[in-house]
Amino acid sequence: MLNVGKIEEGFVLDHIKAGMSLSIYHHLQLDKLDCTVAIIKNARSNKMGKKDILKVECDINMLNLDILGFIDHTITVNVIKDGEIVEKKELVLPKEIKNVIKCKNPRCITSIEQELPHIFVLTDPEKEIYRCKYCEEKCSKRF
């Protein structure tokens, strides 16, 4: 078993679907932060069989929970302070996401008006369906 040390302040994202950690790393823009990040892939999990874990040492306010909720709201978010878990944050599907994914409909106005933000709105929370705010194109696969 591989051991990765404790972090003092930051967050541990647990129960990430195996193989998804790198995608989350990029979407949270962790590559742009100058901080310690541990990406653990295919860790053993009783619940999931295999899972990924991300440990990030940074200011806890830097995490964009909306993006994380959109990617996978079943991820466990542990907030760490002074080396201890101080909070487990619950993720929900955000009502709206801005500039996380792009509308792929070639007939959408976002395809020609460059400065427009790409906004997707949660239209069916049960089926977890998001639609483009402008053309209502369905975002079929989240990630």
Binding site: N105, R107, C108, I109, T110, S111, I112, E113, E115, L116, C132, K133, Y134, C135, E136, E137
Partner: protein, 307 residues
């Protein structure tokens, strides 16, 4: 300030008020002949649509207002690369209300978000064409006296027809509506619509031949079946006559069945049907002007001023 982006932007109660107003305008044109004196409608049409544009212009002229605008992107600053957001900011300085048609879906919504004047979506690609749906609803309500308790046949290209999809979404808000979808296999209504109907427990039937369902209908909404939608010529030749309404087929229909069509028609309704008292598609175009008059009046807030 309100805009109109989708036919569902208005509640059924608000639609009732709008349609009452449209009927009042129909009955008393003189009363409304100067209510928009000094007001201007900008028709910003980034793609040609003569019928819709003229209907909007006729509506504003009937109210005593004036119109300005462009009828294709080539004659607007869009050809120089100006964004919709910038165009509407400029148009807001020139006019009191704007009707916008654009080939890109969502363009009128972008305009509305930047505009200082009400924006009406006059069609955005394959997405929405709310004033056509309002026209259809007003026609049905005026001629049938109700929007509930109806068996409605929708015939032709039900897969790609934006008009048909919008009308279905608008009608499911009323009680006791039955749908009969009449189309070839290749042009059936999309699954997301039948899923929605199942979820709302709204009865519907899918049939291939027009004759099979004609006797049951209160209303037949015809649309065009285009040759290019078929996978092969053989199927087109085999099926195209099923979807042509002629006098012989009409003998199967009820005496009070309405025939509607968003127009333009090509050959799906034989011209011999035009004189039949049930043929209401030209009357429907007339209702299109009344509903746009009522819409312009309402969005300009003139209804509140009078009250």
């Amino acid at each position: 300030m309100r805009h109109l982006m989708s036919p569902l932007d208005f509640s059924t109660e608000e639609l009732d008020r709008l349609f009452d107003l449209a009927n009042d305008m129909e009955a008393h044109m003189d009363k409304y002949a100067h209510v928009c004196d000094g007001k201007k409608l900008a028709t910003c049409f980034y793609e040609p649509s003569t019928r819709t544009r003229l209907s909007f212009e006729a509506a504003m002229l009937n109210l005593g207002g004036q119109v300005l605008g462009f009828s294709d992107a080539g004659s607007s600053s869009a050809s120089k690369g100006e964004s919709v957001s910038d165009t509407i900011r400029v148009i807001s300085c020139y006019a009191d209300i704007c009707a916008m048609r654009h080939p890109k879906e969502g363009a009128p919504m972008v305009a509305a978000s930047r505009s200082r004047i009400p924006v009406i979506n006059a069609g955005d690609g394959g997405h929405q064409h709310p004033t056509q749906t309002l026209t259809d609803l007003l026609t049905i309500r005026s001629l049938k006296g109700r929007l509930s308790d109806l068996t409605i046949g929708l015939c032709g290209d039900l897969k790609f027809g934006r008009t048909v999809h919008s009308l279905i979404h608008a009608l499911v808000r009323y009680e006791n509506i039955h749908f009969i979808f009449i189309s070839p296999e290749e042009l059936k209504v999309p699954d997301y619509i039948t899923d929605m109907l199942k979820e709302k427990k709204i009865p519907y039937k899918e049939v291939i031949r027009l004759e099979d369902s004609l006797p049951d209908l209160d209303l037949l909404y015809m649309t065009r079946v285009q040759r290019e939608r078929f996978f092969n010529e053989e199927d087109y030749v085999r099926l195209k006559d099923f979807y042509i309404l002629d006098k012989a087929k009409l003998t199967l229909a009820r005496e009070d069945m309405l025939i509607l069509h968003p127009l333009p028609r090509v050959n799906e309704i034989s011209v011999e049907v035009d004189d039949d008292p049930r043929a209401m598609y030209f009357k429907q175009a007339q209702y299109g002007v009344y509903v746009r008059m009522a819409l312009i009046y309402t969005l300009l807030g003139l209804d509140k001023k009078q009250a």
